[in-house]
Symmetry: C2
Amino acid sequence: MTNKKGQVIVITGPSGVGKGTILKNVMEADKSLCFSVSATTRAARPGEVDGVDYYFVTRERFDEMVKDGELLEYAEYSGNCYGTPRKPLEKLLNEGYDVILDIEIQGARNVMKTFPEAIFTFIMPPSFETLEKRLLKRGTETPEKMALRLETAKRELECFKEFQYIIVNDKLEDAVEDFKAVIRAGRCRCSEYIKNKRGI
Amino acid sequence: MTNKKGQVIVITGPSGVGKGTILKNVMEADKSLCFSVSATTRAARPGEVDGVDYYFVTRERFDEMVKDGELLEYAEYSGNCYGTPRKPLEKLLNEGYDVILDIEIQGARNVMKTFPEAIFTFIMPPSFETLEKRLLKRGTETPEKMALRLETAKRELECFKEFQYIIVNDKLEDAVEDFKAVIRAGRCRCSEYIKNKRGI
């Protein structure tokens, strides 16, 4: 990579809105993007790989990371803890990568304090019913946990106004193109130009 | 078009930086974009068409437009007056078109007051020498006017910090893609979502 420094891109939105699929498509198309791997105390879902999807840690280890300042942000969500390890993120930024943080809303709010110059994107379902259907189809949760997730999702949808960009995930291709545009436009921001001093 | 209301996109930068070529490419690819035709007192260049490239008006008519509040913004530049007629712009926005204003820096500053929610883009040459060469190649000016234009360009380049986005016109294809991304990301802004109330 060049000696340019990357930007931080935060993507958030209710569970089941399709963040993962959008990210997968965008990252395959752009090799200057990296994914910040979160640490979590939740159990791995089938197919999830430690160190790739998440760092799966115990509650004790998580508390230790918090205490030692190893996390840029962290939040509890549906009974589990999630956090962004600081060092790998800073290393990637210095190598010139744009780093994507796929995090919960409370975590995104915390990043607004630490990295106000990050790009904040909220993914919105076309309707609440669509979201409900997607969550039920996933079927990896107990009915109690599912009810909790739906409640949380409803509350989270009301927070969209706190975010710079709203991408409606109706047609996946459109949402992917929207997110690509948000990232590319982010690189054209005046603050990025000054940071990386290109041209004149 | 839908009942969505369009956004205003301002593109500015020194004379000779290639705004016209970028615009031509972007507008051919996106039919929901419209061009705001400015009024000017300057003489038409070969090939320029009245009502398409500019409304070519006399100084008397221009002063009348200013007096009657027909212009959204206006500015004097290199001895000529330029202004944005208000009514056609508002009509296009209400029809759902995104409207591009290709205007001088002073005009852009005026739009910041009238339309702070517009997107402000500054086109930057890769170097001052490149800009100088492009201007000399155009060769439509007397040497005195050319010297004045170069002086103005130098001063204008220092204003880039006032603008949200900086697009370096080094490779045309890249600049075109950058500008497309800025427009598309603009449509994803939270304020646009609220204005047009899509989704939930």
